[in-house]
Amino acid sequence: MSAGITPIVMPKWGLSMQEGTVVSWLVEEGARIAVGTPILEVETDKIANAVEAPDPGTLRRKVAQAGEVLPVKALLGVMAEASVSDADIAAYVSAYVVPAAAEGDEEAAPAYAYAEVDGIRVRYARRGPESGVPVLFLHGFGGDLDNWLFNLDAVAEVAPVIALDLPGHGQSDIRLPGASIDALAGFVVHFLDQQGVGRVHLVGHSMGGAIAARIALSEPQRVATVTLVNPAGLGEEIDAGYVQGFVHAQSRRELKPVLEMLFADPGLVSRQLVDDVLKYKRLDGVEALLGQLAEAVFPDGRQAQLVARGLSGTEAPLRVVWGREDRIIPAAHAAHAPAGARVTVLEGAGHMAMMEKAGEFNALLKEHIAG
């Protein structure tokens, strides 16, 4: 890399992403850019999101044009300080070569692995540095570890990350260790034991937030910090129409409006996202399993257990992040967070705040685990 020049490249959001479309630039050439500033918008077949600055600097050159489809790691733009000459930047752009395709990387270090815990085979991903307290990501009802596709790599820069598909979810076996938060929390603890993980930072989204809270209460000695994103377990309300719609939707037409409830910007729900969720839902046994889990955890359209309210008695620092426009679990529940919790409500985000406001969420999470 040339001195003083920071390339902005096509990001890789999730394992299957190979190319992205440049939608539009959000800043002009010459603009000062702080870390986390959205620079340009990129769309994949799954979802659109903003590319953010890895380092502060000045945007000197837009290389990619709106509408262009480019491979992962292709050069999109160049940031540099004023001391770097235009000629140096031009030389850098013309000399830039897109690094070899990720195919070899995947051979060397598979992104996903499988483990059998309590007789249930689950898929998981582990990335980041060898040492340090790992950060465990727990997705919500009907989700999978790809819900964290904008977060895992960002957090892996500072700490080891682990994410799994909970039993009955994603590409894990379609079986539950028991239809309850307690049973799922117990399973996750056994998973950590098997992975040789002692102390851990917990991050839980939605139902995964309630699971994280249960683990923090039952295993306080191993939990370093807790971060809850749009969590279950702080109030009774939950949108019963969403839960039932997600469980029972049979077709793309039925499912799309249900998934649109997850985001402040329903335009983020792409055809591919709907197809991916349908692929999961169409596996034999998934609908019955989700129905059973919903009946146990959200009976009669209410949350059965307010497990996260009990966290006031624990020592692990607690952060709560919520999307203001959450239509599934109201952001007003953040007011029930235990005393001492650091609460942030993000504007312009819905239930999937960690996807919709990934940059802000990642910054909050990194700050929290740094202590």
């Binding site: 049979q250 037409r253 034999d284």
Partner: protein, 338 residues
């Protein structure tokens, strides 16, 4: 990542897993086991192209090698279905359907109607279809329109290994007769397929590629030719939406109408002969129900009204290709004046 398997393996796996799950699923066909009754190796063939190979070892006499009499064993399969089994009959080439057509169109397709809705006929008839295999006029036809014409039959023609497994499982579990047509030139095509069982409902088209300039509506091997055309056209800034119908009966016309309403241009691509084809059917329904949305003439790309040639050169010219499809897109965009 789900693992990748071929379409042929996807068919084998769907049959294997459904036979393991449901004891009423049986198979009948010519040489689907191979070697049975002789002194040779049992399970030697697994069908003319080896699709059912290995199933006899797992499921034994629930796979029946039949005499070379389609009218006998297709009739037997339909009768077994009427008596509570879920037979899957393999007809080898769809071109042979003629000798057992009474059993299919005048018996199986009519039972529910003739018996006051009280009879169910959960039979699946699998057959290879389509050209490009150098197999000449009597083993290369795309006869989807013949079956689609008949009320009481469901007609499936998948384009990917994922769809093949999910639609075949759905076909076996469906309570009506299903004609399941497998393009023999796609048998080697590989794709990601979940290891477990899953179903894809009938009557749901798949939008394989999104675009706003023109809609290409197709199925089977033509999905891949259409995607080639769409990729080439995209370089000229022409963004085609490619719709894989997946099932021809029932037909997901709503997805087609939504797409044409968005793009204003329709190109129907069908490997079948042109008269009374799937392309004609879709074109007519769109002309009737979305005429106001059309900004150019509907184009059809089909095989010619002639038997499939044996000469490789002629056969290649006979089967619609990406260049013809791209030209048809440009014709409708030019208002038919191209």
């Amino acid at each position: 990542m789900a693992r990748k398997i071929s379409m042929k393996q996807a068919i084998n796996e769907a049959l294997d897993q459904e036979m393991a799950r449901d004891p009423t699923v049986i198979m009948m066909g010519e040489d689907i086991v191979g070697g049975a009754g002789g002194n040779g190796e049992m399970d030697a063939w697994g069908g003319v192209l080896g699709v059912t190979k290995g199933l006899y070892a797992k499921h034994g006499d629930r796979l029946l090698d039949t005499p070379l009499s389609e009218s006998a064993y297709i009739g037997a399969a339909i009768g077994a279905a009427a008596c509570g089994m879920r037979p899957v009959a393999e007809l080898m080439f769809v071109d042979f359907m003629g000798v057992c057509f009474d059993q299919i169109f005048n018996q199986a397709a009519k039972f529910k109607y003739m018996f006051g809705g009280k009879a169910e006929t959960p039979v699946v008839i699998r057959a290879m279809c389509g050209g490009g295999f150098r197999a000449a006029a009597q083993h290369s036809q795309m006869l989807t329109p013949l079956f689609t014409h008949i009320p009481g039959l469901k007609v499936v023609c998948p384009s990917t290994p994922y769809d093949t497994k999910g639609l075949l499982v759905q076909s076996i579990r469906d309570n009506d007769p299903v004609i399941f047509l497998e393009h023999k030139n796609l048998y080697g095509l590989e794709g990601e397929v979940p290891e477990g069982l899953y179903t894809i409902p009938f009557g749901e088209a798949h939008v394989v590629r999104e675009g706003k300039t023109a809609s290409i509506v197709t199925y089977g091997m033509m999905v891949h030719r259409s995607l080639e055309a769409a990729a080439a056209l995209a370089k000229d800034g022409i963004e085609c939406e490619v719709i894989d119908l997946r099932t021809l009966s029932p037909l997901d016309i709503d997805t087609v109408l939504d797409s044409v309403t968005k793009t204003g241009h329709l190109v129907c691509v069908d490997e079948a002969n042109p008269r009374c084809s799937i392309a004609c059917d879709v074109s007519a329904q769109v002309a009737q129900r979305a005429f106001g949305a059309l900004k150019g003439p509907i184009e059809m790309v089909t095989a010619p009204h002639a038997p499939v040639p044996f000469s490789p050169v002629l056969e290649d010219a006979y089967i619609p290709g990406a260049l013809q499809i791209a030209a048809a897109v440009k014709r409708t965009l030019a208002g038919g004046r191209h």
